[in-house]
């Protein structure tokens, strides 16, 4: 569908990719095969969001022909980065067909992605955590955060990133981190490297909106961030009109 091909690129990078090719029979994969007819499939992994009419028809055709469909990556799961588009924001696949499971992330974290593929090969369900990033956050230890700091920045100042000998919770430093409203499962990759969570794995609870409303009610956001578009919906098409 509409995509940057980053999920495919990640798939090729996985340690288990050669094994995955051996253990499956890839029937339709436009990136590496010439096949252009939709046959019948056990499993479909679909990346990208829906921005075009022909994609809806293709998706529905694949749904009819496939036992289990999994949305791969933030675009397919949530709508993805094109949610920021002022023209046509991308829709997640689940807006059009029933989905059997999701592999979220922009890109899907390699360990999570590899484990999901192993589960699919063994005919098991994909398991995702329902805990948030803070649950496993390395900066959480000893933190008694009360949401009192005014949030003024999207990323820390360069000198603060670099001199982070004793890194502190981003929110306590006035930097917006979406960890509290984002599912864990990436080994806190961005946070470990000195950057706050951007929310690419999607919401840890079923209702993204109420989750964010609660979060927002606790935060003291600076005026320029209050009017800044695409902080909470960078990877998700909002279910309400912006």
């Amino acid at each position: 569908m509409t995509t940057c091909s980053g999920c495919i690129s990640t798939l090729f990078s996985l340690d288990i990719f050669p094994q995955f090719l051996e253990k499956t029979k890839i029937a339709y994969f436009p990136y590496i095969t010439d096949e252009d007819k939709i046959g019948s499939y056990d499993i479909a992994l679909i990346e990208g969001c829906i921005t075009q009419e022909f994609q809806i028809q293709l998706l529905q055709k694949v749904r009819r022909a496939t036992n289990k469909i999994y949305s791969l990556g933030s675009c397919a799961v949530l709508g993805g980065i094109t949610s920021l588009s002022k023209k046509r924001a991308g829709d997640p696949l689940s807006n059009y067909v029933e989905i059997d499971g999701i592999i979220p992330g922009c890109p899907p974290p390699s360990t999570l992605f590899g484990n999901c593929l192993m589960n699919l090969l063994e005919n098991k369900m994909i398991k995702l955590s329902d805990k948030n990033q803070c649950y496993s956050c390395p900066l959480r230890e000893g933190l008694d955060y009360e949401f009192k700091t005014k949030i003024t920045k999207l990323i820390p100042n360069n000198r603060d990133i670099n001199s982070a000998q004793n890194p502190k919770c981003f929110l306590s430093q006035g930097v917006l981190c979406l960890g509290p409203v984002t599912r864990e499962g990436c080994d806190n990759k961005c946070i470990n490297r000195g950057m706050p969570c951007e929310g690419c794995l999607g919401s840890s609870s079923k209702s993204l909106c109420s989750n964010i409303y609660n979060f927002l009610s606790l935060l003291d956001l600076s005026d320029d961030l209050k009017t800044y578009e695409g902080i909470f919906y960078r990877y998700s098409k909002p279910p309400i009109k912006r």
Binding site: T2, T3, C4, S5, G6, C7, I8, S9, T10, F12, S13, D15, F17, P18, L21, K25, I26, F29, P30, Y31, I32, T33, D34, E35, D36, T51, Q52, F54, G80, I81, T82, L84, S85, K86, K87, R88, C106, P107, P109, S110, L154, I155, N157, N158, R159, I161, N162, S163, K189, C190, R193, G194, M195, E198, D224, Y228, E229, G230, R234
Partner: protein, 431 residues
């Protein structure tokens, strides 16, 4: 008046969704175009975004050229703030660009170009990845190891395989441990042998063959950066008799684009007569004359050097070359230093331009911002956009030639081979 009949067919084995569009006037081919179904609108998405927020967004333009997109964006922002990253960060950025190029080139060569070469030169018709992997198991194993090499470089230096975490404006926020650097060094040494195998395999199979003359490039201009490092340098437009060098700040008399509209206009050159990417890089920087690489070039039939298919050979050469460059960069002393990245500070200019050579050629971002540090205009100049007019021109001539003797279905399949030889990056082009 004869009515035009439109034929649209998805082009397979390319990066992203693109269609071959053919217009028939009676039985004559009137028009051939590589059609991209949509533009995602990144130039509009960036408007009203905070300038330091941009690199994270533009990385998502492409999952193959993600490092190039993020780094070129950082360069444009550094131009606005008038800061220079520390030399260690420049080395780290170049390493990240090398990781990206290794993976991008090897994936394109093996899965997209190689089956076409086997077919064009009558070795074997390959219709799925399993047949391809069985054709030469050693080649397959080398390819997977090289994909892994490119991926691991970006993961270790950038934080993950795709959409790197460590690239920010002002520098690179993370430097791997000596243990990780040693691991990458070992992988690179192994990768160098794999690259040699791939080049040797190409020479063994194809070097004495003559590529079909329809794939020959017309007299064209080559567009690229003057420096071989793909990071610094002036913009060069070169043809068989003239050469123009100019700074990226002076690009507008030469080329420009309208925001949100597909395509780049070249004012002094015919759009159809321009190419960027490995072929242009070779014409401008001539890595073929280096002592280590010249023997490979000497083994190739001269006819190859006029063909767009030569790009496939150059991809392999660049693999080898960049692996050696990366090994050199890993020995740089500044990699061991503990450094502080400069803060962005105050805006120095209301606009900034960044430039580099992505795997598929020249990539340039030009941003204009307001006093609140919000973007008011973004122009993204993408290599594939530069190459598409020439690709369309050559596919039209090829299609007309083929259609003299062959049915339109066969024509569609064969012109897809030519499109794949150009290695278009649809994700980037549909920004």
């Amino acid at each position: 008046m004869t009515k035009l009949q439109k034929i649209v067919e998805p082009c397979k084995r390319i990066d992203g969704n693109g269609n071959i569009k053919i217009l028939l006037k009676g039985d004559m081919i009137d028009h051939v175009e590589f059609e991209i179904p949509q533009i995602r609108g990144f130039e509009n998405i960036l408007v009203n975004k905070k300038v330091h927020d941009i690199p994270r967004i533009v990385s998502r333009i492409c999952g193959l050229c993600h490092a190039s997109q993020a780094i070129v964006s950082n360069k444009a922002i550094e131009d606005i703030y008038g800061i220079s990253p520390p030399s260690q960060s420049i080395i780290l950025r170049r390493i990240l660009l090398i990781g990206e190029l290794i993976k991008s080139h090897v994936m394109h060569y093996f899965f997209q170009a190689f089956p076409d070469l086997l077919k064009i030169f009558n070795f074997q018709e390959i219709s799925n990845p399993y047949e391809l992997m069985q054709f030469d198991p050693q080649l397959t194993s080398s390819v997977f190891d090289l994909i892994k090499l490119g991926s691991e470089i970006d993961k270790i230096f950038g934080g993950r395989y795709v959409h790197l975490i460590s690239c920010i404006s002002g520098g690179v926020i993370y430097k791997p441990s000596q243990i990780s650097i040693n691991l990458i060094r070992k992988l690179l040494q192994k990768g160098s042998n794999h690259a040699k195998y791939l080049i040797g395999n190409f020479i063994k199979l194809f070097s004495t063959k003559t590529p079909p003359s329809s794939f020959d490039l017309p007299k064209i201009n080559y567009l690229g950066l003057s420096n071989q490092d793909r990071y610094n340098g002036k913009i060069v437009i070169k043809n068989y008799k003239n050469k123009f060098n100019f700074s990226e700040k002076d690009y507008q008399p030469y080329f420009d684009k309208d925001v949100g509209v597909f395509g780049i206009s070249f004012h002094r050159n015919n759009n159809m007569g321009l190419i960027t990417g490995p072929i242009a890089r070779e014409k401008i920087n001539e890595i073929s004359v280096t002592e280590r690489l010249a023997p490979y070039f000497n083994k190739i039939n001269e006819k190859w050097k006029q063909s767009i298919l030569f790009q496939n050979f150059l991809e392999l050469i660049e693999l080898d070359h960049e692996i050696h460059q990366c090994l050199k960069l890993l020995n740089e002393d500044s990699l061991n230093e503990r450094i502080e990245l400069p803060d962005l500070g105050e805006i120095q200019k209301s606009e900034g331009i960044g430039i580099l050579e992505a795997p598929r050629g020249l990539l340039m971002h030009h941003y204009k911002i307001n006093q609140n540090e919000l973007v008011i205009q973004a122009k993204l100049f993408i290599a594939t956009e530069i190459n598409i007019p020439l690709m369309n021109f050559m596919t039209l001539q090829y299609a007309r030639d083929l259609h003299k003797n062959e049915a339109i279905d066969k024509v569609k399949k064969k012109i897809a081979q030519m499109i794949r030889a150009f290695d278009p990056c649809i994700s980037c082009a549909t920004h």
